[in-house]
Symmetry: C2
Subunit: 291 residues, 2 copies
C-alpha cells in the first residue's frame, strides 16, 4: 500500500510492505488545497513508478478545498472509529483509475460553542497508540500546534495554538523584525536566549507585553540581534506550553528534529518529562488504519 | 508658541495663545523618523505661515533616527523633571533659524533587566495631570498600547502591550484573514462580536489558542466573516486589559474616539470605571511644560 500525509504545504508518501515497513519514501513541496479536479493527476505524478493499488491519505487533502471533504469525526474518537470512517474517493476516469483511494477524516474536539479541529495529526496519534497504548498527553508542535489528550486509547480532546504562525508573523512582519537579522540570512539557534524567553513567559504582564520586550531589550543592548529570534521563539513556545499546565507527563512530542528539540528544551525548563517521536508515525498510523 | 506631537506616522501641531488655548491646528501624514538633516526644512514646511518663535515637540522626533536623540528620563518622572530635561536642538543655519526648538524626552520604566519606554505619551500625561491631579492609572491604547501608573503626580511605571500591531498582523497576514472580508472593504464594527471576544479572553487556554477560535468559529458558521474582525479585536484587547488587573479605577483612557470607545466597552464588560480623554492632551501637556 501507499501511505500519504498531504498537508497544506507539502506531501509525504511512503511505500509500505505487507508488514507496514517503508520500502521507499518521497516528499514534495506540494500543498493539498485548491487543485480541484486536477488533484488525481497531481497525485499520480507524485507517485509515478509506485504501482500499488491501495492508497490511504490523511491531512488537509480531506479538508474543504482539498481533494474531497471528509467530515470531522467527533471526540472521543478511537482508531477503530477512524478506520470505520475512511472516506473512499472515486478514481474512475481519473489518472488514478484502477486504484482505491481513501481519506482519513479529521477529528473535531472542543465544545459545541467553540469547536477545535485537526487533520492529519489524528493519524500520527493512531501510530503513536500502536506503539505506546498508555499514552495520555500528546503535543504536535508546528504552524498550528495541536495538544491532544488520550483516554483509554481514544482521542478525548483537541486544542490548537497558533504558535508557529505567530512566530513567523512577528519575525517577518512586525516592528520586532527590525531588532533581528534579515530572514534571508542563515539563522543560528541560541539556546540561552530561547531559555530566557521561556522563563520570561512565566512572569506577569501577558504575551502582548512580553513581545514588546524583544524591542526594548534590543534598544538597551540586553539582547543582540542574533539572539532575538530564539528569545521570541522561547516566549511564544513558553506561553503555549504554560497555558496547557498542569500536564499529564510524560508528554509525547511528535515532530521534526528541530522543533522537537526546542519543545524538549522548554519541557526540561518546566520540569516536564517528555518523549520525542518522529513524524513517520503518520505512515505507521495509516498502516494500522487498514488492519 | 507652537506645540507639536510628531510620532512615527504622523505630525500634529497646535498654535497656542498665551493662555494655552489652541488658535489653530494642523495634521500631516509625515513620520518623524529617517529624515536626517532634512528634518528642519520638513518641519518649517509643515508650519508655514505660523511665525511663532517658540517650538516644543514631543514623540518619536526625539528617538534614535528622529531629529535629535533625547535620552529617556527614568521613572519616577514628574512634569517638573520633564520640563527641566527639555532638549534644545540647534536651528542656526537651518530653515528654522531664529526659532527656539526643544524636544521633550521620553520616559523609561520597567526594570534594569527589562526596560520599557514611551515617547509622546508622557506629554499627554502631563496634560492629564494638569486637569486631574489625582489620576493614578492611565491607558493609552494604540499600535503599542501604554499603561502608566501615576503616584503623587509622577509617572511611576510604563508598560507596553503590542495590541494594535498584533491586530493588524493577524487581520492582514495570518490564516485568520481568510475568515474575514478583504481589508480593502469598509468595515462595520460589531459590538456583540467584540464583547464575545472580550469574554473569551477570560477563559483558560491562552491567547495563542483563543486566536485559533476565530478560524474554527468561522468553519462551523458560529461567527460570520463580517463579525470576525471585531471578535479578534475583542480577544486581543481583552487579553491586554486582563493582564493589567487589578487596576486602580477610574482608568484614564487617552485616545481617539474609535479606539477609545472599544476600550471603554471592554472596561464596562470587566466592571471597571473609566474616563475617556482626547488626544489633544498632548497640546495641553506641551503648554504646561513651558510654564
Amino acid at each position: 500500500m501507499i501511505a500519504i500525509d498531504w498537508g497544506s504545504s507539502s506531501l509525504r508518501a511512503w511505500r509500505l510492505d505487507a508488514n507496514g515497513a517503508a520500502v521507499d519514501t518521497r516528499r514534495a513541496d506540494l500543498g493539498a488545497l485548491g487543485h480541484g479536479a486536477a488533484t488525481p493527476a497531481l497525485l499520480a505524478d507524485a507517485l509515478q513508478g509506485w504501482d500499488d493499488t491501495e492508497l490511504l491519505l490523511c491531512g488537509m487533502v480531506g479538508a474543504r478545498g482539498g481533494w474531497s471533504d471528509a467530515p470531522y469525526l467527533p471526540c472521543p474518537a478511537t482508531p477503530g472509529a477512524l478506520a470505520q470512517a475512511l472516506q473512499e474517493v472515486p478514481t474512475q476516469g481519473t489518472a488514478l483509475q484502477g486504484r482505491r483511494a481513501r481519506i482519513v477524516p479529521g477529528v473535531r474536539g472542543g465544545s459545541q460553542a467553540l469547536p477545535d479541529v485537526m487533520r492529519g495529526e489524528e493519524t500520527q496519534i493512531v501510530g503513536l497508540l500502536s506503539q505506546c497504548p498508555d499514552a495520555a498527553q500528546v503535543c504536535l508542535p508546528g504552524t498550528h500546534s495541536k495538544w491532544v489528550s488520550l483516554q483509554a486509547g481514544a482521542i478525548a480532546s483537541v486544542h490548537t495554538a497558533m504558535t508557529g504562525e505567530s512566530y513567523a508573523l512577528y519575525r517577518q512582519h512586525s516592528m520586532l523584525a527590525r531588532s533581528m537579522p534579515p530572514t534571508s540570512e542563515p539563522e543560528a539557534f541560541d539556546a540561552d536566549a530561547f531559555a530566557a524567553g521561556v522563563r520570561r513567559s512565566g512572569e506577569p504582564g501577558g504575551l502582548l507585553h512580553h513581545l514588546f520586550g524583544v524591542r526594548t531589550l534590543g534598544l538597551f543592548d540586553r539582547l543582540g540581534p542574533a539572539q532575538a529570534p530564539a528569545y521570541l521563539s522561547g516566549l511564544l513556545i513558553g506561553h503555549e506550553v504554560r497555558a496547557q499546565l498542569p500536564l499529564r507527563a510524560p508528554v509525547h512530542l511528535i515532530g521534526g528534529p528541530t522543533l522537537g528539540a526546542r519543545y524538549r528544551q522548554a519541557f526540561d525548563l518546566l520540569g516536564i518529562d517528555s518523549h520525542l517521536h518522529g513524524e513517520d508515525l503518520a505512515a505507521c498510523g495509516l498502516f494500522h488504519l487498514t488492519r
